[in-house]
Amino acid sequence: MVEIKHTLCPSCSVGCGISIISDADDIDTYPYKRHPVNEGKNCLNGRNSIEIYKNKIAKAVVSNSEADCDKAIESVVQGLKSKDSDKITVICSGNNTNDEIEAIKNFAEAQNYNLIVYADNMDNCDDVASYDDVEAASKVFVIGDILYENPLAGRRIVHAKQNGATIVSNGLTAESVTFNISDECSNLPVGEFLANIKGQLDDSSVIVVNYVDSYGDFAQIVDAAKSANAKILPMYSKPNTKGALNVAGAKSKDEVVEILSNTDVLLVFNDDIADEFDIKSISTVVSFSPCENETTKASQIVVPVRSWLEIEGSFTNAMGTTQEFAPAAEICEDVLSEVEIIEKLQGEL
């Protein structure tokens, strides 16, 4: 029987609502027009997030062979017991819910493992601009391509422009989609861009950023905003990065590389880091993931976990609003949630 249920979009940190429409044969996304953040509007990435559920991993994998989940978890426990705790690293990501992040952090601390939260070289900010602040700003400075990567935050920049704001945009390439609505455009290193806009930044300005080359660049942006009394809104690539950063501080890319170079066992909770970091030299990579990705392909052990559509939880979006969600699709009973898996691991160690 066809049914429509509400949930949150897992594709980035804007915090959009999205509905799921399903019957016995099919499942898809559907507009959630009552949601205050996006009013039923979802970007292509958001609508495609249904693929996470459609392409769920059904079976665990241990050394390239299918295994049942209990066996895979047993292998993980053996791997963890065989190494010193300082050689074991846990990566949690903004794809995890707030409950999962708490559980992962407590687990890592109890076992004295290294814990990594990586936020694309960005970090937490205590005081961030709200989407209403963006719309009301007289000047919006964009670093990265917000319209392309975070379109429903980009929409607020369009509203700011319609309200009379000046949009100054610094993109990575000459083809940034945000340039289409910008009054001034550049492709400068962050330091140079900040130097250029120094005279324009004031307390009616908002800097919206979703890409930096380095952790140092991000620190410069935060400093520039602070010294001009301007607001800042870091847009992260994952739905709950802000929630993860509220629990544990971000590591820079250099710090992550350093930690991984001293890691023998790496536990990756619902993240895909293989494209960004070299994990081939780590002897045991364990991936807890709802679907296949580059990291699961590079892992010795893959343990399937329930997708966001099969659990209840909460995500904290880029502007710091925590929103709850409930299961919105049929739950695969053979697969455990991350919290259940962590409890199992904890019980065995």
Partner: protein
């Protein structure tokens, strides 16, 4: 075509319904007699501003879907097509819903024999978030304290939990950028005459639903529900029929004014310059049914990541392909992340197509092929 006034014989349904509960009673009759597998109706989700399409298979559950939800800009055509094609379905349809159903029937995507369409006269819908904002701003009321809302006599009226009512003229709300969705403001199809029956309170006495019976199937519905003892009917007075037509005429006149104001002022290229090529407008369109086979998915139309979209390659191609079939439901506007008034642009061209061919998508009986014109026949 004939007219009746109708009301439910079931006390609970009569009380829960917007004006006499005739619509819910007809659905109950269809379900209880096993004439349909289910009823596609709208139920409140998070609150009364959140209308969620729901497939009801047990007539006991119909009561939860009784009444009108003006803050529920839903669309049923694509749901029936994708999820209920093989089912016997009864469905409540606004004019844009039945227009989409009609276009999909023409495209053999909905089986006409499988559906009963119960039309709802429509003065327009309000986007849920806009609705909540305007209640805070213009009514000085917490939107959560609103028990129900209705559009009547040119006002958007809210009823509070304490039983009091407050109304504000729709014209005043819309002058300030609130009120009905843009496509609803210019919509000139107010009575869904392609549905088997069209129901509403225009011309009705208190506690009764005014029903226009549009075809044989509609007559069977009324006769069947009466025979089952759930519906009482009587003939409307001539003045009621005239009154209803007068309301329709006024609303169409208002729509024409909006059309005349909006069509000349929309700048397609300026609006399209914000397009990010996300295809949300195409994917939500109830008339677009090719899905993954859509030509626009082909490599030669695909954009490189982070590249500035080329409006003509997407919007322009789609406009030339689909505008004559546009039913002006506004779903494309609702889902566009960049707030491009897609339906305004499409509807504007549909009207031009109408002026040359007389064809109104989902309204005209004409089933000639797309882009048919008498001049071409002569050639």
């Amino acid at each position: 075509m004939s007219y009746v006034l109708a009301k439910s014989q079931n006390e609970d349904i009569h009380k829960a319904g917007e004006c006499g509960g005739a619509v819910t009673s007809i659905f109950k009759y269809l379900l209880d007699e096993g004439l349909v597998d289910g009823v596609l109706a709208i139920k409140p989700g998070d609150d009364i501003y959140d209308g969620v399409p729901t497939f009801i298979t047990d007539s006991e559950d119909l009561i939860g879907a009784a009444g009108s939800y003006h803050c529920a800009p839903t669309m049923v055509g694509n749901i029936i097509q994708k999820y209920l094609y093989d089912k016997k379905v009864a469905v409540a349809v606004k004019p844009c819903d039945i227009r989409s159903v009609d276009e999909l029937i023409k495209r053999h995507k909905i089986n006409k024999d499988n559906i009963y369409t119960v039309g709802l006269n429509c003065g327009g819908t309000v986007s849920p978030v806009t609705g909540r904002k305007m209640i805070e701003l213009f009514y000085d009321v917490n939107p959560d304290d609103v028990e129900s809302e209705e559009i009547d006599k040119g006002q958007f009226i809210i009823e509070l939990k304490d039983g009091t009512e407050k109304g504000v003229k729709i014209h005043d709300l819309e002058n300030e950028g609130y009120g009905r969705r843009d496509n609803c403001q210019r919509c000139d199809v107010k009575i869904p005459r392609k549905a088997n029956i069209a129901c509403g309170n225009w011309g009705a006495e208190d506690g009764w639903t005014f029903i226009e019976i549009n075809d044989e199937k509609g007559q069977e519905l009324i006769d069947g529900a009466k025979k089952a003892g759930i519906l009482e009917t009587k003939s409307p007075a001539d003045a009621a029929v005239e009154g209803r037509l007068k309301v329709e005429g006024i609303m169409k006149k208002m729509a024409k004014k909006v059309q005349d104001a909006k069509y000349p002022n929309v700048s397609e290229m300026d609006e399209w310059s914000r397009c990010i090529g996300c295809y949300a407008c195409r994917d939500v369109c109830p008339i677009c049914w090719c899905y993954e086979n859509c030509e626009l998915n082909k490599d030669y139309f695909r954009l490189e990541a982070n590249s500035s979209p080329q409006p003509i390659a997407f919007q322009g191609v789609r406009l030339s392909h689909m505008s004559f079939s546009c039913v002006d439901c506004g779903q494309c506007d609702d889902v566009c992340p960049m707030d491009i008034p897609v339906s305004l642009i499409f509807d504007k061209l549909q009207k031009k197509y109408y002026s040359r061919t007389g064809y109104v998508a989902g309204v005209s009986d004409d089933v000639k092929p797309p882009l048919y014109s008498p001049e071409k026949t002569e050639l």
